[in-house]
């Protein structure tokens, strides 16, 4: 949560700082909240949060389950009559699927606050005016696809982490490989899912 918060805050700051000169040049600085709000909610917020989670959570799950596989803890669970797939995999995938959208919302809000802070300092725009403009610019067509794809991002992150860890090969080297490949594959799949989500949402919502 701290990681998502700090990253979101910095992205909000940087995006606004970098966009300001160009928008001023075209006399469009008043569009700053709209631009930042829409780009954060539709794309940057979900993708950046998913990438952070892919690095933090997919690798963590991969390493944890990989280590449990190597030390025969998963076999011990199976022998004790507990289905390790249900106990270890299903719970983790459910957790990532349900929690990632919440993290995205949290990250978006912090990023918007960072952006508003820059506008408040450099453009003398009040926080209230900034957020009113942002919420006026946003529609369900921005929020719904972004939220839905966040669920899929969470699902993919949990699935890849669990798959890599659960089926890691024997040995401590296998744990490292599981953690590493989980991050790489989860990050890649986040972009693939993002592409599919944008493609599909384009059919239902006019972007």
């Amino acid at each position: 949560m701290v990681l998502v918060g700090v990253t979101g805050f910095i992205i909000g700051l940087v995006l606004t700082l970098q966009s300001r000169p160009t928008l001023i040049e075209f006399g469009a600085v008043s569009w700053m909240p709209n631009m930042v709000g829409i780009s954060l909610v539709r794309e940057i917020g979900p993708v950046i949060t998913a990438l952070i989670c892919a690095g933090r959570i997919a690798s963590g799950i991969g390493a944890e389950l990989g280590s449990m596989r190597v030390t025969e803890q998963i076999d011990a669970m199976e022998v004790s009559g507990t289905n390790p797939f249900k106990y270890l995999v299903v719970t983790r995938i459910l957790a990532t699927t349900l929690m990632l959208p919440l993290l995205v919302v949290f990250g978006d809000l912090i990023a918007l606050y960072g952006s508003a802070l820059v506008e408040n300092i450099k453009g003398q725009v009040s926080f209230q005016l900034y957020f009113n403009t942002v919420f006026d610019a946003l529609s369900f067509g921005d929020l719904v696809p972004a939220t839905i794809k966040s669920f899929f991002f969470g699902f993919v992150i949990g699935l890849v982490g669990c798959f890599k860890g659960y089926y890691s090969k024997k040995g401590t080297a296998g744990v490292g490989v599981a953690a590493n490949t989980a991050v790489v594959m989860a990050s890649l799949l986040v972009f693939v899912v993002d592409f599919i989500a944008v493609f599909v949402s384009d059919i239902f919502y006019e972007l």
Partner: protein, 270 residues
Amino acid sequence: MNSEQMGRNTSITQTQKKQNSLATSNGKAVIRMYDVHKSFGENHVLNGFNMELYEGENLVVMGKSGSGKSVMIKCLVGLMAPDSGYIEVMGKEISTLDRQTLDELRSDIGFLFQGSALYDSMTVRENLEFPMRRHKEKLGAVSDTTPQVLEALENVGLAHTMHLMPAELSGGMKRRIALARTLILKPKIILYDEPTSGLDPITAKEIIELMRSIQNKYGTSSLIITHDVDCARVISERMILLVDGINYAEGSYSQLSASKDAKVEAFFKK
């Protein structure tokens, strides 16, 4: 027929006599494995392995590292499926069981893993309680598990470790806690996978003594997989030597240690 084959056949004949006497004296076999094959690619680990474990018996299966001992024991509890062959545990053929029946059967089988396999994220108490969650019906409606956990820990002399994490325990303590976890469901059969590997001789001796006392107290049937000759000498009533995926020789420790067969002798050379 060369001397090696003669030696082996002599051992097998002696074993068959012993088996027959055990079958008569100890009653039924609780585990039967016939003609079990298991390969990993071109590596044929089990090539028609046969084994019977009788009620109340301590059977030791010895073999070199990589000879398929652990594969065999995992096939027994359904952690691995053999390529072919017949495996029966307590009258039930493993390959025909559905998940629920297999889980119920597993409550009667204790498995001590080579590396203890304690759950890292749980305390000793939670480790012991874990198998109890799944088999409440076997244990009856018990709301407070403390007496059972304490009894299992007292059996292994580690009642004071109840609230410790596995990372805070030594290798020998972990093995004993794992044994306590194995005992918590009061199994009828206990499978030991290399129970003394990685332990110093004194701790290994303690574990062997513990295994004997548990066997005496609960009357369990024990299948012990090991390459530790001392462990086999102390605990075995009957031994099987697993070589090239088959039960190469069978018999008591004294019978096998006196064998002139080169492959059998190799196990007992100091």
